[in-house]
């Protein structure tokens, strides 16, 4: 496997320099500086003419920076960024993050600039993240250099997902979407053009980071395919790895003269390769975040038998259909509740309830009934995962359900996934559940998909070894 790059200082820098910091409104150099000074560490602006920036004295030259700078964030355009990177490396700054685009993605001139960045790495040993990147966001370190909106409310609390993305936009949009419910973010890493550091380096870093409980990756090109899989399998033995691989590569499918070549189409090999190496695959940004949320928070189930509890028959029926769908390589099955469990539910359920899986407590359901029924199915040895529809329309269901279900979830050793759905209140409820460490989704399909992710993880652990 590729030698691990020590990224400790990148994630815990002593001091940060912002090259091209400025007081000029709406400039990237201002937004980045403004965001970074919220961190509880020294941030030093560098600008050739501005002497004070947002109240902070600025240095005119990179050469004048103190010796304890661990990261130089470069907020200038590509041309000057390249020169600045050379100066920073010469100064001995270990990590350099050129934010600007205008490199290899933009044509021959930009390609030449990116070559110069590569030469910096080769010559000096400084490491470069980017260019063309949003950089890093590490909530627990209050380290944030993302200069666009990025759904900060729930993210700011931090969490277990190490989110590595080649596309900055896909990354921040996805986080924005997910933060409406809540999303436990360990770190956001924008890879950009990957002139130097790439997904393998960061995956290897997060493998050893005890606070990272799941690695989520958005990648377009994986040019070091085998090395990537090797690293991914290594990480997967310790924590879940979920990957959205976009941009299907032509395997010369059209030109293939064999059946095999034509059947491979553009990316069927990817699915097989991922399974072979313990990588969980998703196909869009919602799936990526949904999977990362549940994989980073939930316990891994012992099997694939799901119990469903609902105060509305229809939701139980829908869930059953999704659970028993056979067009999937991770089969789920409806748990068969024991006689004892059914009897326990009978004791608490309303008269017309349906006592077998899916359990329908009907609109007469109350908080007590829901919690007691949950307890009964959790205790059933024939149940591996519990899904519960936390619908707040029934009159007997109150706000107190959130606290009580959360308390129960904290003491059980089986994963619990909720569905909450009731118009504009949904997200409020889901967010509060999330804040209590309970995983929920605003639709049955997404919740069942999350359960499938957990069962797939259990399969991977069984097949490839590893823990969690």
């Amino acid at each position: 496997m590729r030698a691990k790059v020590d990224l400790t200082q990148l994630f815990k820098p002593r001091a940060i320099a912002v090259i091209g910091a400025t007081a000029k409104a709406s400039k990237v150099g201002r937004i980045v500086f403004q965001t970074l000074i919220r961190a509880d560490r020294r941030v030093i602006p560098v600008h050739p003419t501005e002497t004070t920036i947002l109240g902070h004295p600025a240095l005119a030259r990179i050469e004048d920076l103190p010796a304890d700078i661990d990261i130089a964030v470069i907020a200038t355009g590509a041309d000057r960024a390249t020169e600045a990177a050379e100066a920073c490396a010469k100064k001995g700054i270990p990590f350099i993050i050129p934010i600007a685009g205008g490199f290899s993605e933009s044509g021959p001139a930009g390609k030449a600039l990116e070559e110069r960045l590569r030469a910096v790495v080769k010559k000096t040993g400084a490491r470069i993240l980017g260019p063309n990147t949003l950089g890093l966001f590490v909530p627990q370190e209050r380290l944030d250099m993302i200069f666009v909106e990025h759904g900060d409310r729930a993210l700011a609390q931090g969490g277990g997902v190490a989110f590595i993305t080649q596309s900055g936009s896909v990354g921040v949009e996805a986080l924005g979407l997910e933060s409406t419910i809540g999303f436990g973010l360990r770190a956001f890493v924008g890879l950009g053009n990957k002139a130097d550091l790439d997904e393998i380096d960061f995956m290897q870093h997060f493998a050893d980071d005890p606070r990272a409980t799941c690695v989520a990756l958005y990648a377009e090109a994986l040019p070091n395919g085998r090395a990537f899989l090797e690293a991914a399998e290594f990480v997967s033995r310790r924590k879940p790895v979920v990957v959205l691989k976009a941009g299907r590569t032509p395997t010369a499918a059209a030109a293939a003269s064999s059946h095999t070549g034509r059947l491979a189409g553009s990316d069927r090999v990817v699915g097989g390769a991922f399974r072979q190496h313990g990588v969980q695959r998703v196909f869009d940004e919602e799936q990526l975040c949904d999977a990362a949320r549940v994989l980073s928070m939930a316990r891994i189930p012992k099997g694939n038998r799901v119990a469903v509890i609902s105060p509305a028959g229809g939701y139980g029926v829908m869930a059953t259909d999704y659970i028993e769908a056979t067009d999937n390589h991770v089969p789920l099955t409806m748990a068969k509740l024991s006689d004892n469990t059914v009897e326990r539910i009978r004791q608490v359920a309303p008269l017309f309830a349906s006592l077998n899986n899916p359990v329908d407590l009907t609109a007469s359901a109350t908080d007590d009934m829901t919690v007691e029924t949950l307890r009964a199915v959790v205790d059933d040895p024939g149940v591996d995962v519990v899904m519960c529809m936390a619908l707040f329309a029934p009159p007997g269901i109150t706000d107190g359900l959130i606290r009580r279900v959360s308390a129960l979830a904290a003491e059980i050793d089986k994963p619990l996934v909720l569905v909450a759905q009731f118009g504009p209140f949904t997200y409020g409820h889901l967010t509060r559940f999330h804040d209590h460490g309970v995983i929920g989704y605003p639709s049955v399909a997404r919740a069942v998909r999350a359960v499938r992710c957990l069962v797939e993880r259990a399969q991977i652990v069984a097949q490839h070894g590893g823990h969690q």
Partner: protein
Amino acid sequence: MTPVASWLQGLSRPSLPDEWEVKQLLARYDIPIPKSVRLLANAALPDLSFGEPYVVKVCSPDILHKTDRGGVKLNIRKETLAITVAEMRKLFPGEALLIEEQLKLSGSECIVGGLVDAEFGPAIMVGAGGILTELYKDVAFRLAPCTPQEAERMVEELKIAPLFEGFRGIRLDKKGLAAVLVASANLVADLGERFSQLDINPVGYAEGRFVALDGKLVLNPPA
């Protein structure tokens, strides 16, 4: 030295193996093949060590779709073999022929193949075979080389997986097919840079084992 190197040296046309040569390579990797004799152009029909019925095929790397061109004759009896050989030679002058034992097949046919993915390198495939293969696209892939456990999981991913578990009384040999996959993956990996594409199609089930009934291998020219 892998079984590949000496095989490459022995090819009658460098980089262009014919079906017989491909099958000899498969046999070196312990993939079962039918008993067969390659009859070069103008060679006399020898005494055969295996019994009728026979399959007679044109055996040339230049003819890709031999069935479409009448290049495969089935159910040939001993007494009509000489006539069939003469007819085939008229149809394909100058080409070699392949005379094989015709196996009694049961169950479903599969396809086993190999290819090179642009990002991940050499890979193998298993799928439901026969003429509808490309219509159903019931296939699974893994990278080469591949463990026996992964090979079995490939088979389990197929829609036809129940045929290996007793569906309607059919119980094909999963471990046997997995062994063909592992061997194919080793072969593909051993070929290294020379490997481009492999089709073993169909792989038939006969007398309790999977047999490579046809084989096509595309090689890259040596670097």
